[in-house]
């Protein structure tokens, strides 16, 4: 595989710049909160600038090749090196992670959750950013593993310290789940390393030599990786950490979790598990597909059973990631494109939904669907934004969500050679039914919370009308979208529309890279 090394500094800078910010913040006294916010935001913006520059430098003509490749000796003794690179698959997620971090920083400006202490909060967020970005550019299994794990602790503390009532349980659960997965994943990586002749951990190398491994061995190694990644995705039945984590996490945490962290798992499948172990992938694909559709239906049912808005959104992630995994399980470039698009779309949309949920919580101090109603009347803009996100999330054509969902369903009709067609077509129909469920629970949520008259307990005084301008009288918390919220949300909203209207923007980048990745199938 040819590697392009021109101005490869951008990746390293873009990945480790946040750490510089952390170092600076360490020397600022805890009390000076504004300074912390400023530094953190500045760092994030600077990182994003580097990201933009990366977009500019990226050679879209050869998106299938690794670009900006750096290959420096790291741990020579175990034949692992600091090998990073970017191709069409990594680019969107890499950039998205930067964008989301910036937006979250902006949102944090006036939304530092209890118990305050922006210093620690923002430092953790910056470390998180490094971990996320690094995972998407790492081209060496050990390096990938390290970055993959780096995100754990910050998220653990974000949930555990700044989270809701159940935060300690949720955070520990999140941590143990993920760690369990990655422990087995590590074992699988090492087994892979030795089975390929203990030559190198470099993914390109492994892709070349992985196929030569005996089939049964492949299946076992894949199993290890599968658990590692499936926990992160999360796929049924490894999903139970997600609702707790999402529900308890602070808004920023939920957003990052939904927008980026979940994608680490699917990305792992696309980047490592499947291309390196094609035989095993073929063997596993039907099962992955099965779990995926179970996840779709199951997540939807879970949503319908929820009484808490945030928890509902969390379960919807299970369903949506089910679509992504369905696309992956077809092992076709078409399906992979769908999956990757779905990843980004889900990141934008669900991230946005969590922002909204956070703001609702902040205003109403509750997310119980029963108690909320008439948001459209009390906080019209927030209500409309929520409606927009709901529509995007249920896969309305013209908005980003559709392009993750529909192609995934489409791809299930004709999976790769050697996969059972009938099975996958059944999956296709089930998944299509899943879209209706999605409409069901999202609209149900929307109708309950946004429509109707604001309930008396929030309108300050008894009568259901609240006289038009529901906010103000009696309930000062309940105000419409604030300045910082606008700044933080507009980019997401815009990109949801843009990608929905012109999906080619992303497919252009993805397609060649995906094709190259799936070349191992002789496709």
């Amino acid at each position: 595989m040819e590697l392009l090394r021109d101005n490869n500094w951008v990746l390293t800078i873009g990945t480790f710049l946040p750490i510089v910010g952390v170092l600076i913040m360490l020397f600022i006294p805890k009390a000076d909160e504004v300074a912390h916010k400023a530094v953190a935001l500045a760092t994030a913006v600077a990182t994003l600038a580097v990201g933009v520059w990366t977009l500019v430098l990226f050679d879209y003509g050869q998106a299938e090749k690794l670009q900006f490749v750096t290959d420096v000796e790291w741990i020579s003794i175990i034949k692992s090196s600091y090998l990073i690179g970017l191709d069409g698959i990594s680019l969107p997620m890499y950039f998205l992670s930067m964008v989301v971090t910036v937006l979250v920083m902006i949102y944090s400006w006036d939304h530092i959750p209890n118990p305050g202490n922006p210093k620690a909060f923002l430092i953790l967020m910056l470390i998180l950013q490094t971990g996320m970005a690094g995972t998407f550019i790492a081209q060496d299994l050990v390096l990938f593993f390290v970055f993959f794990e780096v995100v754990l602790l910050p998220m653990y503390f974000m949930i555990g310290v700044w989270g809701g009532e159940q935060r300690q349980y949720a955070s520990l659960k999140f941590f143990l789940y993920t760690m369990f997965g990655s422990a087995l994943m590590l074992v699988a990586f090492l087994a892979l390393f030795f089975k390929t002749g203990a030559e190198s951990f470099a993914i390109p190398y492994l892709v070349e030599n992985g196929a030569s491994i005996a089939r049964n061995t492949q299946i076992w190694i894949f199993a290890g990786m599968f658990i590692g990644f499936a926990v992160k995705v999360p796929m049924f039945p490894f999903h139970t950490w997600l609702p707790d984590a999402h529900t308890q996490a602070p808004t920023q945490g939920s957003v990052i979790l939904a927008a980026i962290l979940l994608k680490l798992g699917t990305y792992g499948f696309i980047r490592i598990a499947i291309p390196v172990l094609p035989e095993a992938a073929k063997e596993w694909a039907p099962w992955i597909g099965l779990l995926a559709v179970i996840g779709i239906i199951y997540g939807a049912l879970g949503c319908l059973a929820q009484t808490d808005m945030k928890r509902l959104i969390a379960f919807s992630s299970v369903a949506h990631m089910g679509f992504v995994m369905l696309g992956i399980s077809t092992l076709t470039p078409f399906g992979f494109n769908a999956a990757l698009f779905g990843m980004v779309a889900h990141g934008l949309i669900t991230g946005m939904l969590f922002f909204v949920a956070g703001s609702v919580k902040e205003r109403y101090h509750t997310l119980e669907i029963k108690r909320l109603s008439g948001m459209l009347k009390q906080v019209p803009r927030l209500g409309w934004i929520m409606g927009f996100c709901a529509m995007a999330s249920l896969g309305l054509p013209g908005l980003a969500g559709f392009w993750g969902e529909f192609p995934a369903i489409l791809s299930a009709y004709s999976p790769a050679e050697g996969l059972p067609e009938e099975t996958f077509r059944t999956f296709m129909v089930i998944a299509a039914i899943g879209t209706v469920f999605a409409a069901g629970y999202l609209l149900w949520l929307y109708q309950r919370t946004a429509f109707g008259e604001p309930s008396a307990e929030f309108t300050g005084h008894g009568d259901g009308h609240g006289h038009g301008h529901g906010h103000g009288d009696g309930h000062d918390d309940i105000h419409d979208v604030t300045k910082f919220e606008w700044i933080a949300w507009t980019p997401l909203l815009i990109s949801i529309v843009v990608f929905g209207v012109y999906p080619q923007l992303m497919f252009d980048v993805l397609d060649p890279a995906v094709k190259a990745t799936l070349a191992v199938f002789g496709g």
């Binding site: 805890k30 003794i77 794990e149 503390f157 555990g160 300690q168 143990l176 760690m179 074992v187």
Partner: protein, 506 residues
Amino acid sequence: MLSSLLSMVADGDWVSPTIDYHALAPEIVLAAGIVVVLLVDLFTSESNKWLVAPIASFSFLGAFIPVVTLALSDNTMRELFDGRYVVDEFSLVIKGLFILAGYVVVLISTDYLREGDYYQGEYWFLVLTSILGMVMMASSRDLVSIFVALEFLSIPAYMLAAWRKRDLKSNEAGVKYYLLGVFASAIMLYGMSLLYGIANSTLLTDIGETLSGEMTSIRALAVLFVIIGFAFKVSAVPFHTWAPDTYEGAPTPVTAFLSVASKAAGFVALVTVLYVAFPYASDVWQPVMWILSALTMTVGNVLALRQSNIVRMLAYSSISQGGFILMPLAVAGEGAVGQSALRAVVVYLMLYAATNLGVFAIVIAVARKTRSGAISSYGGLFSYAPGLAALMTIFMASLAGIPPLGGWFGKFAAFQAVLSAETNWGYAIAVIGAVNSVVAFGYYGNVLREIWMRPAPDGDTAPVVIQPAIAVALGITALATLVLGTLPGIVSHFGDLASLSRAFGG
């Protein structure tokens, strides 16, 4: 009988050995330090006893210099007393580790001692002596020298454990440690005597050659007993029982010393014996190691989950960490694996030493304020001592093996070594290890939870005062943890120690 002995001595043409003083320099420096400490302690008044501590630390630093020079000298293989005492890369790396560990121990002990009214001079004397024993252990290649070195490092440790002489717990710790220790070394000695009988030599290499023959029950017995002696030192389950009680009872700096230095010494001895004396008896000791490792990780973990006292929890944690260090040895017999297994052990020891010393430094610093060993006493640490909290987080995460903090690479190397054997036993132990590494976070995470997510117990949020010595110790250990974690390449090459794993064609 005596006559025969004399005759043997008489007609054997006895020539005094030529001694490479450069090779012995570290030991000599330490010995000199010991003497100086004794004298100064003897001739200074109570008010000036604090002088002793710097002297001790300087003698450690002094002893470190020849280690470096030896490492840099082109002659990397120095054999003294026809191969009974060897100074090679392996021993140098280990000596360096011991000496630095000793230095850090001094740092974290200084204020602890000054504040409790203990005899200071003897304390330093004993620490130095014990370290000297370890340094000797690193070079010993003969049953006798190994035995002597072992006792040399153990006996002072016994006394250190019982240091707080008016404290019942401390006494208990000392007695338990002593009795079991002596018992274990007695059993080991019995095994050694058998080995001598079999090989008609106390030189490890000779024994190794003898054991290359077919294995008899008596030989297996001898091997087993010797291994048990060291298994006790590394507190491998089921020979661990002393560890929790002793760690809890002993003065905290001593606990740090025991859990790092003396454990490491045990591993060094074990590795030396396995690699030099028993390379051909791997059929015997591999299963033993496998079982020990599996038991040690698992039992250590599950028991640690139940602890409410931090030191005791750390005791069990260090037990299970020992299990991880033993893991590679479970497959070290498989030809080339020995090489990577040895590397894994050495690297793990280094990272573990750095991290664990750091943890104890924090425990001492915090206990100084809270006057309590309960884990719950760490509540709210993050709110009133964020610095310590952050460091503790780093150390705990490192122990739990979370990248990019030191510990992960140790575990990684261990897994790598185990899997490189590509045997089913290897895969099995690897999976057990993987699961255990997750369980382990249960109790490390528990501490972190107290620190970050719980309020201070009685709302006492006065800041913690950190003395300079502790600060330095923390600095060293934290730096090591972080740097070694992000750039393991620095230490990992210490691991390839051809000289020792010669027998495995390593």
